[in-house]
């Protein structure tokens, strides 16, 4: 088994958007859907 390390994307990079199928709910989930809630 060959081992592969992270590429270490540059810090400060903006999160690329996505919209992909959730295999459990069978609904599409986007970056905005999973973004955390900042209450502070």
């Amino acid at each position: 088994m060959s081992l592969t390390p992270s590429n270490m994307m540059p810090l400060g990079t903006l999160a690329p958007d996505f919209n992909l199928l959730d295999v459990v709910t069978e609904e599409m989930v986007s970056l905005a859907d999973i973004k955390g809630e900042k209450e502070r």
């Binding site: 088994m1 060959s2 081992l3 592969t4 390390p5 992270s6 590429n7 270490m8 994307m9 540059p10 810090l11 400060g12 990079t13 903006l14 999160a15 690329p16 996505f18 992909l20 199928l21 959730d22 295999v23 459990v24 709910t25 989930v29 970056l31 859907d33 999973i34 973004k35 955390g36 809630e37 900042k38 209450e39 502070r40």
Partner: protein
């Protein structure tokens, strides 16, 4: 995070990933797992098996299928597991390993590095500069 079903490096940390996400979800973080592997050549990572993996491990986060592998490329993901932390402005503040544990090295899986990154966000503290890469199975790219 980028994960998959079959990789022993992911299996080694599944319990801690679940614990960590449950611990930090209540503090306001959102989590998502993405599988980008080529499922034609690696059917263990099929969407059907992803669903089984999610349910067996009680994943508290969505488990998404990146069939076209475009998202793994956008994130420059290399391996499973591969972790990314973005702040409230969606800027990358941490990437790399969960902790120092690897299958066979006898170090306890405790999520230390990822937990520290999340704690630093919560306390508005600077992130460590010497972030360590994750190591695992290479993402199975389509030819």
């Amino acid at each position: 995070m980028f994960i998959c079903n079959h990789c022993p490096f992911v299996k080694h940390v599944n319990d801690e990933i679940v614990r960590l996400c449950n611990d930090y979800h209540v503090t306001g973080f959102g989590f998502v797992a993405i599988n980008s592997n080529d499922v034609e050549n690696y059917p263990d990572d099929s969407p059907e098996n992803m669903k089984i993996t999610s349910e067996e491990n009680n994943y508290p986060f969505p488990y998404l299928f990146d069939e076209l592998q475009e998202i793994a490329k956008a994130y420059n993901a290399a391996c499973t597991p591969d972790f990314y932390v973005f702040d409230s402005e969606m800027k990358l503040v941490y990437r790399g390993q969960l902790d120092n544990a690897r299958p066979g090295n006898m170090i306890q899986v405790n999520g230390r590095d990822l937990r520290e990154a999340l704690d630093n966000i919560l306390s508005n503290s600077p992130q460590r500069k010497d972030q360590k890469p994750s190591i695992g199975c290479g993402i199975k790219w389509k030819n």
